[in-house]
C-alpha cells in the first residue's frame, strides 16, 4: 500500500545572505544603536552610547516605529548605509 503525500512546507528557501565579517576593532567605525521600541530598550542603548562615546566611537541612533512589526525598509536601508556595526535592543 502506497500513500503519496504533498509537502506542506515552503517550496522555496529564502534568499541566502552572506554574513558580514566581524570587526577586530571599532576604531574609526560607526556603530548603530537600534531601538525596537521595547520598554526600557532606550535605557540600555543610552548607556551603550555613553560607553562608546567615551571611547571615541561614532554612534548613530535609530528606532523602529513599533516592536510589533518588522522594521520598515527605510530604517534598514538607513542603518545599512550609515553604520559599520549595529546593536539592536531586542527585549524589555
Amino acid at each position: 500500500m502506497t500513500t503519496i503525500l504533498l509537502d506542506p512546507t515552503a517550496a522555496r528557501a529564502g534568499p541566502a545572505r552572506q554574513r558580514v565579517a566581524g570587526h577586530q576593532s571599532l576604531e574609526g567605525l560607526t556603530v548603530g544603536l537600534l531601538d525596537i521600541r521595547k520598554r526600557q530598550g532606550d535605557v540600555v542603548l543610552d548607556h551603550l552610547e555613553r560607553l562608546l562615546g567615551e571611547r571615541g566611537i561614532r554612534v548613530g541612533r535609530y528606532a523602529k516605529p513599533t516592536f510589533t512589526k518588522p522594521a520598515p525598509s527605510s530604517v534598514i536601508d538607513q542603518v545599512t548605509a550609515e553604520c559599520d556595526a549595529v546593536v539592536e535592543g531586542l527585549a524589555d
Binding site: T2, L5, L6, R12, T68, K69
Partner: protein, 460 residues
C-alpha cells in the same frame, strides 16, 4: 491490459445502479447481437447487462479517460479518434452514433441518464490525481507500507502535536476545487520567515488540519485578513506573550459549513470550529516557520494557540452582527481576525439590569488590565452569551449602547489612560442561550502599534 480502449467501433459505458442503463439494456443486447457493439464497460457490476460481454471498470480509469459524465454514454471511435457521442438515452442520437435508425422499439424516445461514478466527489479528485493533469506543484513524498504516514509526517515536524490528515493529491484537489484561484497563485508572505504561500500550500495545510473542502473559502478569507499589515501577524507569531489568532465568522457560510455558534462554542466538538483556526496555525508553522522555541518565542502560550474559530450568534435580528458593524453588507459572509492571549470567563448571577452587567464587566476588565504592564494596549473581544444578552436586549440596549457604556465605564475618570482606544473593544455574541456568562478574550496589543482586528468578506 484488458481495459484498453478500442480504436474502432462502438463503446458503451453503463452502471447497473442507473434506471436509464436498465432501460437501454435490451438496446445494448440488440447492438451486440448485430455485431455493432465493440465494448461495454460497466462501472459497478461486470455482470450487467446480463448475458453480454462486459468489461469491468472498477477503478473507473476508462470512465475517466473517456471523460464520462453521464451513463449511459455511447461513443463511436474511428482510427483511434472519437467521432460521435450520445449521452443518456435518445433514440435519434443513438441512431446517429450507431448509424442505425430502428433502435429500442417500445422504449420512450428519450430518457436522461445518471451521473457517472467517476464524477462523484472523492472519485473525481482521485482519478485526476492518478491519471490526469492535476497541476499540483508541491514536492511529493511516497510512503510505503508498513511505514505509517502519520508517523512520517510527525517525524518531519509537519504537525502541531496532534495527528494531521495525510495530504494526498486527491484530498488537496478536492480542497482546491472550492476556490477559483490558480493553484500557484501567491496569497502572500507568511511570517515570520516571509515565505510565499501559494493557494496549493494553503490547501495542503487545510487538509492536514482536518478541514472539509467547503471550509476552504473561510480559511482563505482568514488568511487574507491575517496578512493585512494592520494585523501584525509577525508580531503575534513571535511574541513572548504567546498570542493566537481568533477567527469570528458571520453570514450564511456558517450554516453552510456547520460552524458552531452555540453550546461550547469556544471549546471542542465541532469540526469546522476545530479545524479552520488550526489551518492557520499549520500554515504559520509549515510555511512561515513559526515553531515554538524557534521563531515562536511564546513563554507560556495558551490553549487557543491550537486555533480558535467560531460563528457569531446571529439568531436575534435585534443584534447587529460583528461583520455588519465593521462595514460588511447584511447577508454576506465575512471573517474577522483578532490576535489574543487567552480567555477569561465572566459570571454574574445577581445582575438584573444592563447597568449591573456593565459594572461587573468593568471589574473583570480592570482585573485583566491589571495583569498587563500598561492599562491601555491589550484590546478585548467580549463574547456575550444568551442570558446576558437577554438582559441587555430587554432594556433596549443594542451593540452601540453596550460598547459605549463599557468605553465610558473604563475611560479612567481619575485621569488614567482609557482602557480602550477607538476600535480596541469588539463585542460579539455566541454560546448557548442558557447561563449568565460572557467570555473576555484578551487581546495582545491594540491600536496602530499593535495588532488591529481585520475583517474580510468570504468569497462565495
Amino acid at each position: 491490459m484488458s481495459n484498453e480502449i478500442p480504436e474502432d467501433g462502438l463503446v458503451l459505458v453503463v452502471r447497473e445502479n442507473c434506471p436509464t442503463c436498465q432501460l437501454i439494456a435490451p438496446v445494448a443486447a440488440d447492438l451486440e447481437a448485430r455485431g455493432a457493439l465493440t465494448t461495454i464497460y460497466s462501472q459497478d457490476n461486470p455482470g450487467f447487462p446480463e448475458g453480454l460481454r462486459v468489461r469491468d471498470d472498477p477503478h473507473l480509469e476508462v470512465s475517466f479517460r473517456l471523460a464520462i459524465t453521464i451513463v449511459p454514454t455511447l461513443i463511436r471511435f474511428e482510427d483511434g479518434a472519437e467521432t460521435a457521442r450520445a449521452i443518456g438515452w435518445s433514440r435519434q442520437e443513438w441512431g446517429n452514433v450507431a448509424a442505425l435508425d430502428d433502435l429500442g422499439p417500445g422504449l420512450p424516445d428519450e430518457r436522461p441518464g445518471c451521473g457517472s461514478l467517476s464524477e462523484e466527489p472523492g472519485w473525481a479528485e482521485e482519478l485526476l490525481a492518478r491519471h490526469g493533469e492535476a497541476g499540483l506543484g508541491a514536492e511529493t513524498l511516497t510512503v510505503e507500507f508498513p511505514e505509517d504516514p502519520f508517523e512520517i509526517m510527525d517525524a518531519r515536524g509537519w504537525s502541531d502535536g496532534l495527528p494531521v490528515v495525510p495530504p494526498t493529491p486527491a484530498r488537496v484537489l478536492a480542497m482546491l476545487n472550492e476556490c477559483t484561484l490558480a493553484h500557484d497563485h501567491v496569497l502572500g508572505s507568511i511570517p515570520p520567515a516571509g515565505a510565499e504561500l501559494t493557494v496549493e500550500k494553503a490547501a495542503i495545510n487545510a487538509v492536514m488540519a482536518g478541514c472539509r473542502p467547503a471550509y476552504f473559502p473561510v480559511v482563505l478569507a482568514a488568511l487574507d485578513a491575517a496578512l493585512d499589515p494592520d494585523f501584525a501577524w509577525q508580531g503575534l507569531l513571535s511574541t513572548t506573550m504567546g498570542a493566537g489568532v481568533a477567527v469570528i465568522v458571520n453570514g450564511p457560510v456558517c450554516r453552510r459549513i456547520g460552524l458552531n455558534s452555540g453550546f461550547n462554542v469556544l471549546g471542542h466538538g465541532t469540526r469546522a470550529n476545530a479545524t479552520i483556526g488550526r489551518a492557520l496555525v499549520l500554515i504559520a508553522m509549515n510555511v512561515g516557520g513559526a515553531r515554538p522555541g524557534g521563531v515562536d518565542r511564546s513563554t507560556l502560550g495558551h490553549p487557543g494557540k491550537h486555533g480558535l474559530c467560531f460563528a457569531e450568534d446571529e439568531s436575534d435580528p435585534a443584534w447587529q452582527t460583528l461583520a455588519a458593524s465593521r462595514g460588511i453588507d447584511g447577508g454576506r459572509s465575512a471573517v474577522t481576525v483578532f490576535g489574543f492571549c487567552g480567555t477569561s470567563i465572566m459570571n454574574d448571577e445577581t445582575a438584573r439590569t444592563p447597568e449591573d452587567l456593565v459594572a461587573s464587566h468593568v471589574r473583570s476588565l480592570e482585573a485583566i488590565s491589571q495583569m498587563r504592564s500598561s492599562r491601555r494596549g491589550g484590546g478585548v473581544l467580549l463574547v456575550i452569551a444568551g442570558e446576558f444578552w437577554r438582559i441587555f436586549r430587554d432594556s433596549g440596549w443594542d451593540r452601540t449602547r453596550i460598547e459605549a457604556a463599557l468605553h465610558d465605564a473604563t475611560a479612567g475618570p481619575g485621569g488614567e489612560t482609557p482602557m480602550f482606544g477607538p476600535g480596541d473593544l469588539l463585542v460579539t455574541r455566541a454560546g448557548s442561550h442558557a447561563g449568565l456568562f460572557s467570555t473576555i478574550i484578551q487581546g495582545w496589543g491594540s491600536g496602530p502599534t499593535g495588532s488591529q482586528p481585520v475583517t474580510r468578506e468570504v468569497e462565495p
